[in-house]
Amino acid sequence: MRIIIYTGKGGVGKTSIAAATALFLGNKGKKVLVMSTDQAHSLSDSFDVTLDSSPREISENLWALEIDPVVESAKAWGQLRDYLKQIIRQKANGGLEADEVLLFPGLDELFSLLKILEAIESGKYDVIVVDCAPTGETLSLLRYPERLSVLADKLLPSVRNFTSAFGGIISRKTTVPKPRDEVFAEFDNLVKRLSRLREILVDRNICSMRIVMTPERIVYEEARKNYTWIRAFDYAVDAVYLNKIYPQEALKGYFEGWSKLQEDIIRRIRDSFGECKIFTLTLQKEEVRGMSMLATVGNQLYSSEDPAQIFSRDHAFHMEDEGASRYLILDLPYVEEKDISVSKEGEILYLTIKNEMRCFSLPDEISRRELSGWSYVDGKLKIIFDYE
């Protein structure tokens, strides 16, 4: 069982690469499902077939689907959302704008990922290839399972008790309806499924993230940031794809100056992604569309490699001892010291970088110690633990 998730900002060609990879693996005899969280139907366009939210066999051993975030989000939290709608609709007539904003566009992407869990549970596939929403959004959503479990563990029991005790009073005084038990139960269930999904996605023997980029400075810088964050959240990145490299013939004449810029960026990319495998693909003569074009691209990419293999298992963190102190060392390139804050509560270590937080569950041998400090040198964050 393998899960390969392609991510990258819009326009870098990650759908084409996901589709070509899935087709290549299917042709090699693996049972493959490829799915897209993208709203613009780029997967249907790539394969040149019609797709919907149920898997469709589009060539031998290859199934494809396009996730409908509206449907997925109704499945995930329909009742809670209806409760919110009920609260708002009762008094404010917001028309279609209100209905639309209550779909919470950003959250849909998160719930779309639950479709991966369904595919795993079906047990039908050897490889699941996911074409994921653009970088920024994906990033900000990956942290939610952790935050949601904070909510579910700490807040939900309190709120439930609180509303069961005082809900009656609130309803009478204000006509704010009291949420039904189903709303809580649904939320509970949602959190469980999200946590289960996260468990699978952080398992580096199953799941690899792959970042797709083009040789342009801004795209490269965003990809680098993305790389740091995905790893800080403990997901494994095992390969990066450098797509749409202009071939020499394209840089004759008007674009001659571009040639040096491109070389420079490619050099920087080769130095920036640790042990990741780097795949390269030149800009094709046409837009990548249709089975034969995808097969060509797949053969160009994987002439000597099996794309389903795990190219790197590099861990973003490890432990070291020095005297009586124990260090947790995180590989965390490209951040600034002033943006880092670290704290520990019980067995949980909280790491905040700028406005992003993640929690590490510490193993016993560390969690009994106290956090006594940290340092950030050469892209490595060293967190020091001591007994009092």
Binding site: A92, F162, A165
Partner: protein, 432 residues
């Protein structure tokens, strides 16, 4: 009255360069201008060959630049609000030591940058504020929420404050929940009021307009349409679109000349979406825009269109009205009753064909499965009636699935009750 112009578009399409070029043009004309970036991937510093950051920096006569960091703003300019958000989530030591840890809707953080921009606007120091912004459609749509919650703020909060006073000691003792205190409730009301005022400012057609930057590539075109749909739906004024990276007629090689052909349908699609919005085409420069000189060059070569900072002419926009089991979309169209109009819907696109032009309107998600039920042509208005579809097989499956889970939950309800009872008992016994 000051002017705010928001530049928005995906990273890599050139919006920062364009925002910077506008800022330079504005300042060169002697208008006191601020260029501010809210994009997390700031690059104003690169563009002007200087260190830019949280402090305002003057880069030329009449031009200051600033890079905003929403988290820093939350913690330093709205420390009380940050604490309130922490309290809303629940009081435990963790959240108090890490004031940045709230569960926020995606896009919500950007609202703090926008609140800061309102503050800068009200300070009156600048005649023009030019904002270099990440895609804003979804963020601006969130500004609808405070308005929707107004009734509850007015009704619930007075009651809420009284209740907090009475219940707070009980709830703390009995349920270990700290209710927000009286002061915190005041601050929530204040945040609510500020967000409502922010929406008013950004929707004021005399003050604020949005300019979209895109390139003629499939994915970018789709994202631009979506962004435009949100901006339109929530009542913001889009007054210009910049189409960047247009290949020159002859690139000197066949490979790129062929890509010029591939660009064509995307340029046409953008033109059919932005029928009423002026489009400026920007050539694909064979080098990077970096440093003051290249920004000035861009300002000289591209921003020669008249009325660079003028307000757009007033235009009636399309509106949606809720009807039973559907929505009515009303599109202002002078002389609509005399025209041969063809309307076709393809998922989230609505194509309107008149004898001589074609217009494409991106639709909100909610209409994805809706069907066109009727077309009403009146004097100056075309109305389209959308009916929400009968449940599809897939959706029926889902309803069944939801129903099944509901039953399972029912079955588990008794168990849960028992568990809660045990949980309470544990609390009273002081075991937890």
């Amino acid at each position: 009255m000051g002017r705010i112009i928001i530049f928005t578009g995906k990273g890599g399409v050139g919006k920062s360069s364009l925002a910077a070029a506008h800022a330079v043009s504005s300042a060169s004309g002697g208008t006191k201008t601020l260029l501010v970036s809210t994009d997390m991937a700031h690059n104003l510093g690169d563009l002007f060959d200087t260190e830019a950051g949280r402090e305002i920096k003057t880069v030329m006569d009449c031009l200051d630049i600033l890079e905003l960091d929403p988290d820093w703003i939350m913690q330093h300019e709205y420390p009380d609000l940050s604490r309130v958000l922490g309290k809303l989530i629940g009081s435990n030591s963790l959240l108090e030591t890490n004031p940045g840890d709230y569960f926020l809707l995606p896009g919500f953080e950007n609202l703090f940058s926008l609140l800061k921009i309102r503050k800068l606007y009200l300070s009156g120091v600048y005649d023009r504020i030019i904002v270099d912004c990440a895609p804003t459609g979804e963020t601006l749509s969130l500004l609808k929420l405070p308005e929707l919650l107004t009734w509850y703020m007015e009704k619930f909060f007075p009651v809420g404050k009284v209740m907090v006073r009475i219940l707070s000691p009980i709830s703390k003792l009995k349920y270990r929940v700290s209710l927000p205190n009286h002061k915190a409730m005041d601050e929530i009301e204040e945040l609510h009021a500020r967000l409502v005022l922010l929406q008013e400012l950004l929707q004021d057609p005399e003050i604020c307009t949005v300019r979209l930057v895109c390139i003629p590539e499939k994915m970018v075109v789709e994202e631009t349409k979506r962004n435009y749909m949100y901006l339109n739906l929530y009542g913001y004024q889009v007054d210009r679109v910049f189409m960047n990276r247009i290949l020159p007629d002859d690139t000197g090689n066949e490979f790129m000349n062929h890509w010029k052909e591939i660009q064509k349908p995307y340029i046409e699609e953008l033109e059919s979406v932005f029928v009423h919005v002026p489009i400026t085409r920007i050539p694909w420069y064979p080098d990077e825009i970096r440093g003051m000189e290249s920004v000035q060059k861009l300002s000289r070569e591209v921003l020669q269109y008249p009325g660079l900072f003028d307000l757009p002419p007033k235009r009636d926009r399309e509106i949606y009205i809720t009807i039973p089991n559907g929505y009515k979309l009303m599109i202002p169209l002078p002389g609509a009753d005399h025209m041969q109009i063809k309307v076709k819907k393809y998922q989230l696109d609505l194509d309107i064909t008149l004898h001589n032009y074609n217009r494409r309107i991106p639709l909100p998600y909610i209409l994805k499965d809706a069907k066109i039920a009727d077309l009403i042509q009146e004097k100056d208005m075309l109305s389209i009636i959308f009916k929400l579809e009968e449940q599809s097989e897939e959706k029926k499956d889902i309803s069944r699935e939801i129903e099944k889970r509901k039953q399972e939950r029912e079955a588990g309800k008794e168990k849960r009750k028992a568990r809660i009872a045990r949980f309470r008992k544990g609390k009273n016994g002081g075991a937890i």
